[in-house]
Amino acid sequence: MTTTHNRRWPKVVLQLAFLIFAVIQLYPLVWLVFSSFKTNLEITGSNVMGLPNEWRWANYDYALFKANIARNFLNSLMYTTVTVIISALLSAMVSFAVARMKWKLNNVVLTFFMLGLMIPVHATLLPVFQMLKMTSLLNTPWALIIPYTVSALPTTIFIMIGFFRALPGELEEASVVDGCNIYQVFFRIMLPLVKPAIVTTSIFTFLSAWNELMFANTFINDPDLATITVAINSFKSAYATEFGPMFAGMVVATLPMIIIYLFLSNQVQKSIIAGAVKG
């Protein structure tokens, strides 16, 4: 049906337009990859646009180990993974209690969490900074894991509540009849059933924590503990004359996300849509 519908569109023009737009969206990233293999001389004028004259893997060696981007990469991976696990577990517990258990204040609690969807985190920056300083958590992984977990809660709860509400009631009743207590109902019966929601929200949380800059730049000063986003940003002043390695570091920060995306694109796209519908 759609093919006849489209017959009026000049197909070649359409394809050309889509291709040009693909170039606009992707050429800067391709240029980034090419530049990551070039010498300073090529980058600063002799060969700005083309393929590298020689593929210099040494740039990657420099970025990963001399400038220690590998370390920052692992830091980011650790912080985001812990954030994803804690926020998924906490949100699933809250969502279960609100959606499936019987108590008076459930809607009040839910509304309270949902307020967090609208409020910019900027306004928590200074108070949270002081709180972390007072509790000596500043400059530790927790300085990011805790605020990231909290920022993830409203969205994650919002998405999970929908899933919990959609589950049929018979399952939990049957399992209670079979002698499960409430914790077993949650961990053994419900949690496996909302796995799709957990995957969706995890991707969403992962993306936002991985890319976060303001907190990461403020709550951790120690370069050995810094995230990769902060490391990339400080690379531009610390190794200002090492252009090739700088581009290599940026590719290292980017490529894993794109590879994961190409494997999980449907799931990633679903999670973005679920995260947006909250608005």
Partner: protein, 299 residues
């Protein structure tokens, strides 16, 4: 049965951990910021209560020459650019892609890739693209024989703001496109069949069927784009950090530098609180202002 699902202790076990974290690190800090905004405080000396004086200074006196009003205008300009440039491009792409084009899934996947790139990478990358002597943009212009079009993009006051905004608009086109695309795919096929039997053109169909039916998601996109613009931070912080001022400063970078570079805790908090109020205000106004297909059904 009711005993099991009304188990007060279990409810507490499930809800309290998240609630405590959320109150301590999310809700309570907002209240603290509101209180700080009423103080004259550098974080070291004892604080002095000055009421709304910081707000007055921010908008009227501008003792510190930060030109906060101009920074608000910059974010409003970004919001306009997002709504009237980014969203229409995304909508056209989504409309055409969703109605079936060769390579539909490939394009959908490719256009989304910039969304995944961390803003610090985008920022540093565009710093290099705009670099005046050997940056990609000026190099391309020179090769095309358009040397007169080249600029020192990020430092000239005429081009600085738009140069910071282009990457923001560029990065999120794919994001909005995806949301709209998913919404269009949810429209039942028989509506299109009916339109075709009636002899409606593609453009007519888009305006009378598709766009009204996806208006709820368009509303979400507008709210996202506007609120995202108002609190924008990352790329400005990386690319110009607000310089040249006030051409590229935004409220969030001014807030950041007031607090962490100038130790003006009260003044910076006033900016933070202003941003909370501003976002809530725009959220409510846009919710009221934009009437979607769903709203009309209900009323």
């Amino acid at each position: 049965m009711h005993q099991v699902f009304g188990n007060k202790k279990a409810i507490a076990v499930f809800v309290v951990p998240a609630l405590i974290l959320y109150i301590l690190v999310g809700f309570f800090p907002i209240l603290q910021s509101m209180y700080y905004s009423l103080l004259d405080w550098d974080g070291i000396q004892p604080a002095k209560f000055i009421g709304l004086a910081s707000y007055k200074d921010l908008f009227f006196t501008d003792t510190y020459g930060m030109d906060f009003n101009h920074s608000i205008l910059n974010t409003l300009y970004l919001a306009v650019l997002s709504v009237f440039m980014q969203l229409p491009i995304a909508l056209v792409l989504a409309l055409v892609l969703a109605r079936g084009v060769w390579g539909e899934k490939l394009y959908r996947t490719l256009y989304f890739i910039p969304v995944l790139v961390s803003s610090s990478v985008i920022g540093v990358m565009f710093l290099k693209i705009y670099q005046p002597e050997y940056g990609l943009l000026n190099t391309i212009l020179n090769q095309l024989g358009l040397s007169s079009w080249t600029h020192d993009w990020l430092t000239e006051s005429g081009t600085a703001l738009i140069s910071v905004m282009i990457p923001i608009v560029w990065q999120y086109i794919g994001y909005h496109m995806l949301l709209m695309y998913a919404a269009i795919k949810g429209i039942p096929e028989d509506l299109y069949e009916a339109a075709k039997i009636d002899g409606a053109s593609s453009i007519r169909t888009a305006f009378s069927i598709t766009i009204p039916l996806i208006s709820p998601i368009l509303k979400v996109c507008v709210i996202f784009a506007v609120l995202g613009s108002l609190k924008f931070f990352d790329l400005v912080f990386i690319m110009t950090n607000g310089y040249p001022t006030p051409e590229t400063s935004v409220p969030s970078t001014l807030m950041y530098s007031s607090i962490f570079n100038r130790n003006m805790y009260g003044y910076g908090s006033a900016m933070a609180v202003f941003m909370v109020v501003e976002c809530l205000f725009f959220y409510l106004v846009l919710q009221k202002l934009i009437r979607t297909y769903d709203d009309k059904e209900e009323s």
